[in-house]
Symmetry: C2
Subunit: 325 residues, 2 copies
């Protein structure tokens, strides 16, 4: 089978490619070849199959057709302008997150038509809990409506609708998975408003100080990078007929307060690690985070076999196993 | 104030233009000029203000900018490929219902930028209850999610998201109103699967026979053409700050069974009219209609002052007053 990963240089994309290289197989079939692209050329890992890499912009008119031309069996569609950039640059956000994604779907549809209907790829699209916008209930269920409060969330919600319609029409077999906040993000602290959720774990584990800008009772929904890769693999393997026409799924995760995160850190790494967290309240971040979802009831995804960690200790242990080697 | 009506030759568009011509005003302001366009040239009624008419395709690349160039204060965006055609012709449906609508919004956004931010039009967009797809609860509330089962419904749901985001960003001041099934539709019986809801009232009132293809216990959500025009005028007048970022509203209507429709006909027009309804069950139509919403709780719209008829007798009387003159 042939696999195409679009957005392979991002944090999740890189881990997905590494995992596929390690497994050598996907959905019970041997991988014969992979194409891995991003806006910068991804660095391919050693793999038992050839990996072609390239840098390209999916919003460029000729790129989607080129990517679809090899008729990949599975397409992981992870490429996205992030939330902050989509808000700052309206045209770029819509250009890549909506038009680029739609052109990929249309290019796959075109290959299906050219194939006489034989070709029908699996498309795994990473959506986001940003499709939800406040006010919402304490726990957001599978039938709650999408009222995004960012252009990024709007673009993701639109792509979910497109993916469902293209699947219903039989052009492709798509699934959109809404990722929780990924925690613990590896790498350096960044400026994302959600960065502190990872910083207060990752930095103390490395013996470094970390800043906590919000109150201890802030609750949020997390999954590890490892769980995110697991969602993608499961989404590529699942019989999607079970989903009917509703192709967007909120992924399970661990809903914890910051206080519970810190308690988990104490259990895993001791008092010395916890002592490295400095409380420096930041009004801007507090206000942004107050508008975020706190908890999901991901019943549908769980019934379909999607599995996240079940407690925050496991998220920390996954980080140590995957990053402290 | 300047008004632009896009889709002015359709059933609702025509009635809207006639009503505006009669009123001479909108949202408490005198209308200075109107532009009324459709894919065919609309026939303008006599009016106390000039009405420019034209035939154009909103999916044509240069048309949206031309329409926006006069900077209308209120834009009624009714133009749409209907459900059956959007399903039969994928490219045309997406081309007009998604790309055409989006290009209108982008052209208005461009005028705003050119105006230095002074220009900010009210945009009233007609969406549809086709944004909902089975399975759904017996009564669909304001927070139920949009899972369309047609490309038409998908396109409407996407435009709702765009309209909310463009409003949130401050490019325009938009509202999407989801119209119930319009009943009693004037004119001749057509082939729409929903046609019988109107046929069984309109035809007997004119002394003609009508076919009922479904069971008497089929329930559906209706509003008169007069109520639909009322929704549009109210949407153009309302302070939309009250809506926050959630710019799509399900309109109120009258939820009745076919049996209740027939009882209302009996009360208004007598046994002789009812005797003209012939029961000829049609499996295809029965199956299509079984997947349609039956009832809505349009709390939000009602709280904002949107008013439909309160019983089906009133819908029949509105039809007689408006069409039997």
């Amino acid at each position: 089978m042939k696999v195409l990963v679009i957005g392979a240089a991002g944090m999740v994309g890189r881990k997905l490619v590494e995992r596929l290289a390690r497994d050598g197989a996907l959905a019970g079939r041997k991988i014969a070849a992979m194409t891995a692209v991003d806006i910068v050329t991804p660095t391919p890992p050693a793999a038992p199959f050839p990996i072609a890499t390239d840098a390209c912009d999916i919003a460029s008119l000729y790129v989607p057709r080129q990517l679809a031309a090899s008729r990949p069996d599975v397409v992981f569609l992870l490429a996205s302008v992030v939330s902050g950039e989509a808000e700052a640059d309206f045209d770029k956000g819509y250009g890549i997150n909506l038009d680029g994604t739609r052109m990929i779907l249309d290019a796959l549809r075109r290959e299906q038509a050219l194939s006489g209907g034989d070709y029908k790829p699996r498309v795994v699209f990473t959506s986001s809990i940003a499709v939800f916008g406040a006010p919402f209930p304490e726990t957001i269920g599978d039938e709650f409506f999408t009222t995004p409060l960012t252009s990024y969330g709007t673009q993701k919600a639109i792509c979910e609708l497109l993916l469902s319609d293209y699947s219903r029409r039989g052009f492709l077999d798509g699934i959109a998975i809404r990722l929780p906040t990924i925690c613990v993000r590896p790498g350096k602290p960044n400026k994302a408003a959600s960065g502190f959720f990872s910083n207060i774990i990752r930095e103390p584990l490395a013996g470094l100080p970390a800043v906590l800008p919000v109150d201890d009772d802030v609750r949020h929904h997390h999954a590890s990078p490892r769980a995110a890769v697991g969602f993608l693999l499961h989404a590529a393997s699942l019989d999607l007929a079970q989903l009917g026409a509703r192709r967007a799924l909120t992924m399970p995760g661990v809903s914890v307060t910051v206080a519970e995160q810190i308690e988990a850190l104490r259990r895993v790494a001791g008092e010395k690690a916890v002592a490295l967290i400095k409380r420096e309240p930041d009004e801007t971040i507090r206000r942004i985070v107050a508008g975020w979802p706190r908890q999901f009831d991901a019943k549908r995804a769980e019934a379909l076999g999607f599995r996240a960690e079940t407690d925050f200790d496991a998220i920390i242990r996954a980080h140590i196993e995957d990053e402290h080697v």
